[in-house]
Symmetry: C2
Subunit: 245 residues, 2 copies
DNA sequence: GCTTGACCCTCCCGTCGCGTGAGGCTGGAG
DNA sequence: CTCCAGCCTCACGCGACGGGAGGGTCAAGC
């Protein structure tokens, strides 16, 4: 005894529109049609639908569900593990947003009237930059200029600096992950962006100074950890890229 | 010194397309245009963009961002708390999916060849139903019929039963939350669906028996908790609705 | 003065999983 | 024969852009 869309919808808790959708995708197509064109689902179709809904409830996209179900040789366990990893990273992103909201709420309570203060450098205090510079470059004129200029920066500037550097790092991380060599022209361009960023915000940065900065990124675990948070191995890659420019 | 789209994109790490998008939404519109029609963003526009990106990174939808930024009297703290709650429920959903995947992986490892076994009743063993029925209805013929029939049910059937009952409960929860009275005709229809569901899967369920079931839902904390997981207060509402039918 | 290449513009279709109609047949009950 | 519930096929809409087509603009080098 075959089911019509309405009956099947009631049984499975999906809407009729969803059944239509799955039919036009070829994901769950009724075996038969009545003379008037009504969709008629038999028991096999119902089973198929339940399998689809099983994977859907696990967050799989519909095209992957089709792939899993239509290929008996598909490695289900691997698919589940992949999906688990995907969900885990989704959860991590949500956790990050929640943490950022909590930080914003705290600083709001502390009386900061602007709620756009940027929960800056999340966890990486700009003061660390200053300490680093002091320890390494001591009394160099570059440090003096940087200190003089950064002293005048407010929240807006630090926000801008962080966004800009993040953008550059992300671009370089993407190139790294795409397998671009450190002397690839696109990498060189991004490296120049970074040097320009340092020059505009901190001090005039020569290529030589820039190479030194690259060395710092791999030799100081605090810098390494912070940079590698964007992408594992990025600090080392930056060091090589800065040297190749 | 105003910025063009490309310059601003580099500074902020967004794409040019995103800037176009925000412009056509009126979310961040450049103050000026060059003679040739190029968008020219001044410092105020940049600030505005950074505020938008701040909220975007917290997961706010763009229309809410516009509302927050365009209304100075907007309660930012409340908006942040609301968004936090939204993210928390998103996180809970992802957690549920991950837990379901883990259960599926475990049963796959245990050698179950079908990966569509449904991680049934997540945490609510069907055996509980049996125990309940035994304690309450002892030797009634209804229990006998139910026991005889459910004995033959396999995974597929239990899956179907759960889906069907979930669908009915969700429909009733929606009606409850919409403020429908327990004797509302739509509620009556859904109640009949539920009674029919019991009759088809377990035992012939008269209206009287159904009322008894409703009482069980509020008097037994296990049932209450399980049902209220779908929506708080649903168990009580069901009891009233079953009585009003 | 002209070409080149990098930049900019405005449409406009595609994504993903359906929701939500519009406009029109069909099937069983009264 | 008439109702009304239920079915059908389009087809647009959402959210936040991605990406490309087709075409103007700007600074630099020849």
């Amino acid at each position: 005894m075959p089911y019509t869309v309405g009956e099947l919808a009631k049984q499975t808790g999906v809407t009729i529109r969803t059944l239509h959708h799955y039919d036009e995708l070829g994901l769950v197509s009724p075996t038969g049609r009545s003379a008037a064109g009504y969709r008629l689902y038999d028991d096999g179709d119902v089973l198929r639908l339940q399998q689809v809904l099983f994977y859907r409830d696990l967050g799989f996209p519909l095209d992957e569900i089709a792939a899993v179900l239509d290929d008996p040789s598909f490695d289900r366990a691997a698919a589940l593990r992949d999906q688990r990893a995907e969900l885990a990273s989704r959860r991590a992103r949500v956790d990050g947003m929640i943490a950022a909201i909590d930080r914003a709420l705290v600083s709001l309570e502390r009386g900061a009237p602007l709620d756009d203060l940027p929960s800056l450098f999340d966890g990486f205090d700009p003061a660390v930059y200053a300490d680093e510079a002091l320890a390494r470059w001591g009394q160099t004129p570059e440090f003096a200029e940087s200190a003089r200029r950064t002293k005048t920066y407010g929240k807006a500037e630090w926000e801008a600096i962080k966004r800009e550097s993040d953008a550059i790092y992300r671009a370089l991380a993407a190139l790294m992950q795409a397998g671009a060599a450190p002397d690839d022209p696109r990498v060189r361009a991004a490296v120049e962006d970074h040097r320009d960023h340092i020059t505009r915000w901190f001090y005039p940065c020569s290529r030589e100074l820039h190479r030194g900065l690259g060395a710092l990124y791999v030799n100081d675990p605090r810098f390494t950890a912070n940079i590698d948070r964007i992408a594992p191995g990025l600090a080392r890659y930056l060091c090589e890229a800065f040297a190749a420019a």
